[in-house]
């Protein structure tokens, strides 16, 4: 099947602040909405030279929503747009998550920090397809547990924070170990900061399970032409934006 890509000027039609530094922006982007598969991303205009990668967090009618944390120039630019402003969006890009063939295999989502932004659409569609879903969510503190309520609509959610301000104190890998000790036969889907991904991959290896891991490497082009976003796989650097962002946990060297 030929890949469909769009370069569109999309209009901001709705925006919402989710507490300190977290925002959701909805753009009118029918081309993206009708071609996105869960876990894919877009490159978005940033007010700077390069575009920035963002997962599509949810879709709603013709709208594509993006959930992001303000950390620098581009995310700040995005948060300050006014309704009606237009920005360049390039996508959909990359390879998303795959749902297991076995409908009875439960899906275990493991999210770290803003990595959660990838999952609402993943979980909703999984729910619609009839999978059982559980989410493990690790964040710095209670303030960073954004869109937990939304994910609870689709299944159980267990949170853990670095400072213990909500849920248990500790790291999400502890929750994952508990889960895998109970049941190894779960389809694991992971997204979060690179150090967390590496720890999760180690846990997967310990338990001899293979998870689907979404990487967040620094990207210049987002569509495979610059070789900036690489991770090591079997002695070779492969592109997060093209071969990924979702990759098998056993294919990536940590």
């Amino acid at each position: 099947m030929a890949v469909k890509r769009f370069l569109i000027k999309a209009k901001l039609i709705e925006k919402k602040e989710l507490g300190k530094d977290y925002h959701i922006s909805w753009f009118d982007a029918p081309e993206i909405v009708s071609n996105i598969s869960p876990g894919q991303f877009v490159m978005m205009e940033s007010g700077q030279y390069l575009l920035r990668p963002f997962s599509v967090y949810e879709t709603d009618g013709q709208k594509a929503g993006f959930l992001y944390k303000v950390i620098g120039w581009g995310t700040s630019f995005l948060s300050k747009l006014n309704i009606g402003d237009q920005v360049l969006i390039h996508g959909p890009l990359g390879k998303g998550f795959t749902y297991p063939e076995d409908k009875n295999k439960p899906i275990l989502i493991v999210a770290g920090g803003i990595g959660i932004a990838t999952f609402p659409i993943v979980a909703r569609i999984a729910h619609e397809k009839g999978y059982k879903i559980k989410t493990l969510f690790g964040a710095r503190s209670a303030n960073d547990l954004v869109c937990a309520e939304e994910l609870k609509k689709y299944g159980e959610l267990e949170a853990i924070t670095d400072d213990g301000s909500s849920g248990r104190k500790g790291f999400v890998t502890e929750l994952l170990k508990n889960e895998l000790t109970k049941n190894k036969n779960q389809e694991i889907m992971v997204c979060g900061p690179t150090p967390m991904l590496k720890s999760v991959i180690k846990v997967c290896n310990e338990f001899s399970v293979v998870g689907q891991v979404s990487f967040e490497e620094y990207m210049a082009c987002g569509y495979g032409v610059c070789m900036s976003c690489v991770v090591m796989s079997n002695g070779k650097y492969i592109r997060t934006c093209f071969e990924g962002p979702v990759m098998r946990s056993d294919a990536v060297s940590v």
């Binding site: 370069l7 620094y218 569509y223 032409v225 070789m227 900036s228």
Partner: protein, 317 residues
């Protein structure tokens, strides 16, 4: 009728727009969703070496604020020239693209071995020798020492009939010295410029951002540097075709390069922010030529050097 057909000495292209090495994957396959590769003048492959190269660790790229461009330190990651010929070249042939093959190495012998693999192949319209990659140890030698550049080009010319273009580095005091050495050695064209050496510091870690410290600066900010070097080279060697590279993003940029003395141009970093940049520039050039009643694009090459020429009317394409 306006014609975009471009003459670069022995090399004829359907239009003057190419994709620059390292900014279009290995063989530009990734552009398939956006346009037909055969609509371009040509593409330049990623720099290929005799042995595959793994490339540098990440981060490989850092942006230069506010909108100046970026630094890269990819480290010439490539699958090797033999792999390319076997697995990528058939794709380009199928797409009806006669490409420019870019070759790199650490020693003269590396280059010669790589050229040897492709020396008789008609699928290439030119060989671009990357004399100037700043991202490997000693990588600048051939582009900073006229004697070495001369030896390189003349040795390559001895073993192949494919036209040879030398791609030069801007990281030098007088570009025309190296240009002269390459022309004397029989270079059929000169590609300028490669990236400009730069560095970025991370104020939190208090270290350079890129693992090797330095990186190659590309994008909008290097355009005036490229134009200046093309200007100087064209002035001294107006008969040698120049392929201009450096910060070209729009039709306006492209026209400026042609007027400055480039017969063709390569689109580099602009591809990252707009995959259709090259094809939009081709459309823009067509409109410009119609509007200005220019019958052949070759006519405007180097026109900025003609002192007495009537100024062109303000463009409104």
């Amino acid at each position: 009728m306006s014609s975009l057909e471009t003459n670069l000495g022995k090399v004829k292209l359907k239009n003057p727009i190419l994709l620059a090495s390292g900014t279009c994957g290995v063989a530009a396959r990734e552009f398939e969703p956006y346009f037909k590769l055969s609509d371009l003048g040509s593409i330049v492959t990623k720099s290929l070496s005799i042995k595959p190269r793994v490339g540098n660790p990440t981060p490989r790229v850092v942006e230069v604020s506010p909108a100046c461009g970026m630094l890269n330190s990819i480290g010439l990651q490539n699958p090797g020239i033999e792999y390319f010929v076997k697995n990528e070249l058939p794709y380009l042939t199928e797409q009806k693209v006669t490409c420019v093959i870019n070759i790199v190495g650490e020693t003269l012998d590396d280059y010669l071995q790589a050229v040897d693999v492709i020396k008789n192949k008609s699928e290439f319209c030119a060989i671009e020798l990357n004399l100037s990659c700043p991202n490997v140890e000693g990588g600048l030698d051939f582009s900073q020492d006229p004697k070495k550049a001369f030896t390189m080009v003349s040795e390559v010319k001895k073993i192949t009939n494919i036209p040879v273009w030398a791609k030069l580095s801007p990281n030098i005091t007088d570009i025309t010295e190296i240009a002269k050495a390459c022309i004397d050695a029989g270079s059929d064209g000169l590609c300028l410029i490669n990236t400009v050496l730069g560095l970025a510091i991370n104020r939190w870690t208090k270290k350079p951002v890129l693992p090797r410290g330095v990186g190659g600066y590309s994008g909008p900010a290097i355009k005036p540097i490229a134009l200046r070097m093309i200007w100087e080279t064209y002035k001294k060697f107006p008969k040698t075709p120049i392929i201009g590279i450096g910060g070209i993003h729009t039709t306006d940029d492209a026209i400026e390069f042609l007027l400055c003395g480039a017969s063709a141009i390569q689109i580099g970093t602009a591809n990252f922010v707009n995959p259709k940049a090259s094809i939009e520039i081709i459309e823009g050039l067509k409109k410009y030529m119609e509007q200005m009643k220019i019958s052949s694009i070759n006519e405007i090459v180097g026109q900025a050097h003609l002192q007495s020429e009537k100024p062109l009317a303000k463009s409104a394409y």
